[in-house]
Symmetry: D2
Subunit: 342 residues, 4 copies
């Protein structure tokens, strides 16, 4: 029997102070929808931006934030035929983007994301179109699985879908946040050489344990020069640019001829910049990398089950501890922060 | 019978005033080399930068500038087997790059270009490795053919090799210089819709005559808004970014979802910049586009012969009129400026 | 006002003799469906196979054959939001395949086609899911537009989507049926060199008028030797293999190193064969080419409007003349046979 | 000091009986050549065909067979600048193919292979162009390294260069010969699921120890049905077709929608055949896979050093035991047979 009420987080206005854990009716799945009992919700840096500043969410309050879930289908709406009660599922972030080209235009780029224009998932139950879910990986628990839809798929799309990562290539990974550690694990799983940068020796040690072949403490040495040393000046085949802004120019120095830089992060601001001469002479591909489509997430799920990759979770928090979890996220965790429902 | 002496341009130091038309011995082809009697040399904006500021050339004077030639093989060195006397040839710009990956490293990117690190060609005769030439197109005269190695191949590599241009796509072409007009002609030859921007109605009229489907005078209207109007807000599939610098951000607004921007020009400075949010949400591919390899030039030659594309030459100058030709180039011609030897 | 009854063709059992032009109620669009008043239906060789032998259609009779239509939306079912009454549309052949990977498995390959597992369209009205249609090209009349969903898209997918056709390439096109003439027109529109083979000089003359650069009457000369002569032994970059069976081996002889053969036709039987040595040494890509997905059809529509390609229709027949139209199709038309409703 | 004479194998005419271990002068490196003291030569099935039947070799006897070597540069000819004495190198099989498009035409496909049209290497010393070698991997001994130029690179080109193998994909590998075991190791190194077929349970056990996820004894069950069972009917993403001939049709049944089959082997004859209907409906890419170019071999060397892949050698034989080694090869080894010089 399903309960009639549930808890969910409400954001009354931008700002963490405006979050409250509220009670609501458990929703009923409409035509084509399924009701999912949420097991875990992974937090992303982007949730923090949305909650703190309203960035990327519609100015219609109150709303429920959060976009990454793993849960179990507990009821099926009329005309829903893809999923059945009892199936464990994870959400897709860019809701309705199944494969190929997403909806959107030059003036209005794609923005139909869970916890953004589409509903958020920091709730005990959600009712959403069945097409917005994929089957969860068998090898992961709910908290681990909940990290795939955004952090896992972002790294996968950049390195595998766009980047055609293969053995013998070298990947430069900036930092040890959720996307970066997935990138590290994917690089290792594909036989590539991973170089991780951080300002913390402790985090670098943990990255080494995950398979990083080379570690650079950028607080102690120029990381581009370190890359030249490590690669015999050839440079790296892929850079995951997590910092963005003017830092991109460093990536242009570090990348190999005909190499690829995936622009992902915006920690250094929302305007990227770099040397045109390096772009041209090295024939660099700079790829603006969104999260990814549903088919890619399905392939990632297979890859995770096949390789045994276990997503790195820094800490798990109960639903009521969202404020503490967000504070931890803001402070820079090693891997992911996850809210568990149970 | 070959003459023993010839004329060539000597640059004694950076600065156009340091150019002199000098006499020299006709060189003899070494092992693996051919002697080419130059018929025409096309000038590029990059020659202007090199002559005026020394940019991109080694600080070893005097030297001969120029990189784009069409001519005839008149003598063949020992061990040269690919070419024969009497063959009409054009030069390759990135000397020694035949296919795939060029020589170079992250620290020292590829830079082995004619009229740069490799010898220049503003001379009546040049002796260079036979591997640095390809057969000239049959459908073009020497002056026209001399425009392919840099301007033609730059547009081709961006749109066709990297860009996989096809019918029904829309290409945004900035300005009416040599690369831009090649891009226009290639877009038309592939059944694509070309949009050309300029601040001159007269130049736009001439672009229309070459097949441009849409014309935007950016001095009279916001060209990004014009692109939205023309494309029904879908945006353009390819942008040839000839301005560079901060202007790239306008291209990010104009480009379609999953579109491609080829970064080519540096008129607005040597540092590009733009919105990270647009890069990410539109999943833009920003491609640093160098000129191209020898195999691509061979394919371009076939394409020119097959489609009947006639490169647009604004004006032809005799060898002695190089200063006037450079002044014309600096003033912004419609298409190419070519030096003819005859 | 819509009529209440309409005419449609019924196939009571395999065999052209079992076709009758019957009367039926005009269907009503269900949820997510639209009602389309059919303007024209193009016939395909595959319709002939289905009608004559039952191949590719479910053994559930009676049924309505036919798969390619152009028409106008005249009513919209509940929850249909993509299309509106008055819009002119064409059908998609592989119903429900929108982009990327279609539904289907290794054991049960994709087969959800109109006039096959999904309903047929040789009727004055059809009610089908709105997602199975795309907007018709503005530059074509109904009969012309009706040829795009199968014949046009088959050629497009082979040459453009899979084949990345570009100027300067050479395409070998076998025969002058509907797919072949689209391939010819697409090759010309992309600046490629088209070589057409036929045993009829009259048909070759008409192919020349459509832009074929080279013509080979294979009844008078060995067409592979002719290809060697025309291409200077380099071979052709693309072959559209329309004959299939053991004839594929000839294509393996004609194709260039690293060239591509699209396997499309089955005139010579349902088992293809060829020389392994040629496949390996030439590194040939043999592509099994189905028709194509909805996004590709949308791009083809843009390409047709942009290039002005006018599909070649050999003859138009009224609805009642389906038997004569099928006989014409069986005899080998030049281009397409179309049924017009008006 | 180099010796003046050496041993090498001479084939006086097709047929293993016509092999003799002869003495010859140690060659001197010509301009652009290096002299290599051979450490190990790996044997390939193709050497067997060449020796037994003369297939693929010019009818000019006597000649030296063999194509795969690892050795050390011991002298450098005039004008050779890429390599230096003391460097350990491996040969490239398709001599002179560096990247991109190889030399050759439709009529005369590429065939410039060591131990074929180019000289063979079953000798204690060889003098060959320096451009035909790449640096040997540091992590392998000579015998292991000698297996990369043909067997290793064939698997790499098929799966990685052409096939873009990635984690989560499923690869079907036929048998346990040299190419197959490299394919298995590469699949595992890229996080893919490898299915191996054999008629020998003992060999399957050894494949399992190398990381095969699934084993099929095709003598005991229908291997296609087994693939359906293992993959939940989805089929496999890649098939390495080692048998060829009519066996290809089985691969067409086993492969997934939009999957890829690399045609490599010719054990079942030099004519491949299969169902056109499966090719079309599944949109299969059938890739004729040659060995590969020099740049790919360089990347494979990096991949081997990076992943620690150790090529599987069934048995090593001394130079004088070539006949026994060939007999072993003909009997079907598990992995590679290598001739060691020491």
């Amino acid at each position: 029997m399903l309960p009639t009420t549930m808890r969910h987080w409400r954001l009354a206005a931008p700002g963490r102070d405006n979050l409250t854990l509220a009670s609501a009716l458990v929703p009923r799945p409409g035509p084509g929808e399924v009701l999912v009992r949420v097991g875990a919700v992974a937090l992303n840096y982007r949730d923090l931006l949305a909650i703190d500043s309203g960035m990327g969410i519609p100015p219609v309050f109150p709303l429920t934030p959060g976009s990454d879930l793993c849960g179990v289908v507990v009821a099926v709406g009329e005309d829903a035929r893809r999923l059945q009660s009892g199936q464990r599922v994870i959400s897709t972030f860019e809701a309705g983007w199944f494969d190929g080209l997403p909806a959107g235009t030059a003036r209005h780029p794609p923005a139909h994301t869970l916890g953004g224009v589409a509903p958020g998932v920091l709730a005990e139950y959600v009712a959403l179109p069945e097409d917005w879910f994929v089957t969860a990986p068998e090898s992961l628990d709910d908290a681990q699985a909940s990290t795939l839809p955004v952090a896992g798929l972002t790294a996968w799309s950049a390195l595998v879908e766009h980047g055609r990562l293969h053995a013998g290539q070298t990947v430069l990974i900036q930092g040890t946040g959720g996307v970066s550690l997935f990138a590290l694990q994917l690089a290792v799983a594909h036989g590539a050489t991973a170089i991780v940068t951080s300002s913390s020796d402790a985090k670098l040690d943990r990255a080494k344990a995950l398979g990083a072949a080379h570690l650079i403490n950028y607080a102690r040495e120029d990381w581009v020069e370190a890359v030249y040393r490590i690669t015999g000046e050839r440079g790296v085949d892929h850079v995951l640019e997590m910092v963005g802004g003017a830092h991109l120019d460093r990536a242009l120095h570090a990348v190999a001829v005909q190499g690829r830089i995936s622009l992902i992060g915006v920690f250094d601001g929302f305007t990227f910049s770099g040397s045109s001469g390096l772009m041209l002479r090295k024939q660099v591909t700079l790829q603006g990398s969104s999260v990814g489509h549903r088919r890619a997430l399905e392939v990632l799920v297979r890859a995770v089950d096949c390789t045994g990759i276990a997503p790195v979770i820094d800490r798990r928090y109960p639903l009521a501890a969202l404020p503490e979890a967000l504070a931890h996220l803001a402070a820079g965790p090693f891997g992911k922060i996850v809210i568990e429902m149970a």
